[in-house]
């Protein structure tokens, strides 16, 4: 009998380690022979710890499981969820990037290969660098880190650059609130990221890679370090990748708690051992990146999607999606929701369907008030915008952005003035300090919002002006996009900016 208990940190945060220990103890006391596998998460976080038992006829789920449930679990009397693949939240997904996540043992390379792993890298090893880059370009893959820049075009710039050394840098800084897709894949299918980086290396002629992984993710750091060690020991990384005669190796580097280091040039400075200050562009990192050498900087999900593109072909990937948003996107459903977790789907699903149907509305049972999409620099979308389909251009047209595809749901108890204040406060805390509108403007923003809260309606135009200055005068999106949450809160929820004044009258 195989029993799966996730080792994903969300599952651990909800007690998975205690459940695993209870299963081992109970099985031992019964003399029951079991194989316990610590898998990644299936992404249905509200069911974690989600235990799966395979008695020979498929994997049946149970969850959330408490240690006290374990005797009944092993008796077969605990009420189950049926076949995991048939749980509607799971069955409705299109899992390409996350196909193996939650299915396999994350650190078992044989298991990885038995589920399609390394097929993409094997194919890439037989292609020229031009052909590899062309495949990624044809897939329509765009950067999942936020800006949505076409990955193939970026790779081609690096491929064509002449240099004695090029680098692949994976941006695993995932600082946006409401996002956890990078963490989930690094903990649940780390070889997939390694494979994607190796393919990128072959594609652009880079022999060295770095994963810049935030220090707030100690579990992901441990899993990735172990996976790199295993990959190297098995010839997936090293002087002769898969025996193809080309070299690629990588290291994990740990961040130090600065949100701005997710910005690619700040990240490169940090990786070089400097303060994480944003660099002016040009030069593009693709031409002068890490240590001044041509460098691909890509998000975890962008890179982890490359293996399936090479395995199944560009067309297979490009056949999913909407408009210029091709393929799938792992939507991360967070905040006040009934069914929180990771939902990978083809681009195009309307926001309202994701919030009200897939996520099941709020956990509190109160009406939904707003959804912040795209992290702390993303707009608060009101109910009136719920028909917006999930796509880069579509969200842009609705005054928002997808960013890293995190979705934070708030019920009607949320005070949007306070959320706008928080956005300014966050910008002030995390600013790299290079431009005045961001460094000083954000501090003024907090003060101005406090004046509005105190009943000064004259401060509202000041806030609007300040946001314009920040938008126009900031070098990067931290200062430049903080106006998105602030202005969307003000525009869509004016009543929250008027309450204090009315109360005073």
């Amino acid at each position: 009998m195989k029993i799966y208990v996730p080792m994903d940190s969300a599952a651990k945060a909800l007690g998975a380690d205690d459940v695993a220990a209870a299963i081992i103890a109970e099985a031992a006391s019964r003399g029951l022979e079991i194989e316990l596998i610590r898998n990644g998460t299936r992404g249905m976080i509200w069911l974690e710890p989600l235990v799966e038992i395979d008695r020979g006829a498929g994997r049946v789920g149970y969850g959330p499981v408490l240690p006290a449930d374990v005797p009944a679990l092993l008796d077969g009397t605990l009420k189950g969820l049926g076949r995991v693949e048939q749980i509607p939240f799971f069955a409705r997904q299109t899992r390409l990037t996350f196909a193996r996540c939650g299915v396999t043992d994350p650190l078992n390379l044989d298991d990885y290969q038995a589920h399609g792993g390394l097929a993409g890298l094997r194919r890439a090893a037989g292609l020229s660098s031009t052909e590899i880059v062309e495949e990624v370009t044809q897939s329509g893959l765009r950067g999942r880190g936020g800006a949505g820049f076409p990955t193939g075009i970026k790779w081609n710039t690096v491929r064509q650059a002449e240099a004695d050394q090029k680098y692949i840098v994976c941006n695993a800084d995932e600082g946006d609130s409401g996002t956890f897709a990078d963490r989930v894949i690094m903990e649940g299918d780390p070889f997939c990221l390694i494979e994607g980086m190796a393919i990128a290396g072959l594609g652009v002629g880079a022999t060295k890679g770095y994963i810049y992984l935030r220090s707030e993710y100690p579990d992901a750091i441990r899993v990735m370090q172990e996976a790199v060690r295993i990959a190297r020991a098995n010839g997936v990384l090293g002087a002769d990748v898969l025996g193809a005669g080309r070299a690629f190796d990588m290291e994990i580097r740990v961040g130090a708690g600065a949100y701005v280091c997710g910005e690619e040039t700040s990240l490169l400075n940090s990786l070089e051992g400097k303060r994480g200050v944003v660099r002016a562009k040009p030069p593009l990192p693709a031409l002068q990146g890490f240590l001044g050498k041509p460098t691909v900087v890509n998000n975890v999900i962008s890179l982890a999607t490359v293996p399936v593109i090479l395995e199944k072909g560009a067309q297979h990937y490009a056949d999913f999606g909407l408009g210029r948003s091709r393929g799938t996107i792992p939507v991360q459903i967070a905040g006040n929701v009934k069914h929180g977790g990771l939902f990978e789907t083809a681009f195009g699903m309307p926001l309202g369907e994701l919030v009200l149907d897939i996520a099941g509305g709020t956990a509190s049972g109160r009406p939904v008030k707003a959804v912040q999409v795209g992290g702390p620099l993303g707009a608060y979308m009101p109910l009136e915008r719920f028909d917006t389909p999930f796509g880069y251009e579509e969200f842009d047209g609705a005054g928002g952005l997808i960013g890293h595809a995190g979705m934070v749901v708030f019920d009607d108890s949320a005070d949007m003035l306070q959320m706008a204040r928080f956005a300014m406060e966050f910008c002030a805390v995390e600013s790299c300090g290079k431009c005045t509108p961001c460094r000083i403007g954000a501090v003024r923003g907090v003060e101005t919002i406090d004046r509005i809260a105190a009943g000064d309606p004259g401060a509202i135009p000041l806030l609007t002006d300040l946001c314009e200055t920040m938008t126009d005068g900031s070098l990067c999106a931290l200062g430049g996009f903080t106006p998105y949450p602030v202005m969307s809160a003000l525009t869509h929820f004016p009543e929250d900016f008027a309450t204090a004044k009315e109360a005073a009258e």
């Binding site: 940190s9 969300a10 651990k12 945060a13 909800l14 976080i45 509200w46 995932e174 600082g175 946006d176 609130s177 409401g178 996002t179 956890f180 990078d182 963490r183 989930v184 220090s215 707030e216 993710y217 579990d219 992901a220 290291e251 580097r253 740990v254 961040g255 130090a256 708690g257 600065a258 940090s270 990786l271 070089e272 051992g273 400097k274 303060r275 994480g276 890490f290 240590l291 991360q332 459903i333 967070a334 905040g335 006040n336 929701v337 929180g340 977790g341 990771l342 956990a363 702390p376 995190g406 934070v408 749901v409 708030f410 019920d411 949320a414 959320m419 928080f422 966050f426 805390v429 995390e430």
Partner: protein, 146 residues
């Protein structure tokens, strides 16, 4: 300290790995380390200091015996994170980054732990906790000796 520094000198961009290793070993970045690092990397002391002070993670004064981090970001706020944080601050009688009088607990804010679908989230000495309510938090703080 010299050994820790020289262990990392072969790395490209060695400074952050050195600082992390020093902080792991000493619980802080000792002031005496700055000239040693500057010397080893052939950069100025001011530069080393600038890097240490830029990042939230590095501390020059030691933390308490346990470090409790509470997520203050939006997804946790949506499920009561602010009230949880306020209660913890009040219970310990400290401000953010403060350490309890008995030296047991330092309370740090953190902006997202990637546990946004099971907030409010917290981390105690690198161990994650989800759906933390005031009762759970009180228990965690008590276990930490606060």
């Amino acid at each position: 300290m010299r050994a820790i520094i020289s262990d990392h000198l072969h790395l490209e961009g060695a400074l952050l790995p050195i600082l992390h290793a020093l902080q792991n070993a000493c619980g802080r970045i000792p002031q005496e380390a700055t000239p040693l690092i500057a010397d080893a990397l052939n950069i100025s002391k001011a530069e080393v200091h600038g890097v240490i002070s830029f990042y939230h993670d590095f501390r020059e004064v030691p933390a308490g015996r346990h470090v409790v981090k509470i997520c203050r970001a939006e997804a946790c706020q949506a499920v009561g994170g602010n009230a949880l944080a306020e209660a913890a601050l009040a219970r310990l009688g400290v401000e953010w980054h403060g350490t309890t009088g008995n030296g047991a607990v330092t309370l740090e804010p953190v902006y997202c732990l990637g546990l946004c679908a099971c907030g409010p989230a917290a981390m105690v000495d690198g161990k994650v906790h989800g759906r933390v309510d005031e009762v759970r938090m009180a228990k965690l703080l008590a276990e930490a000796g606060a």
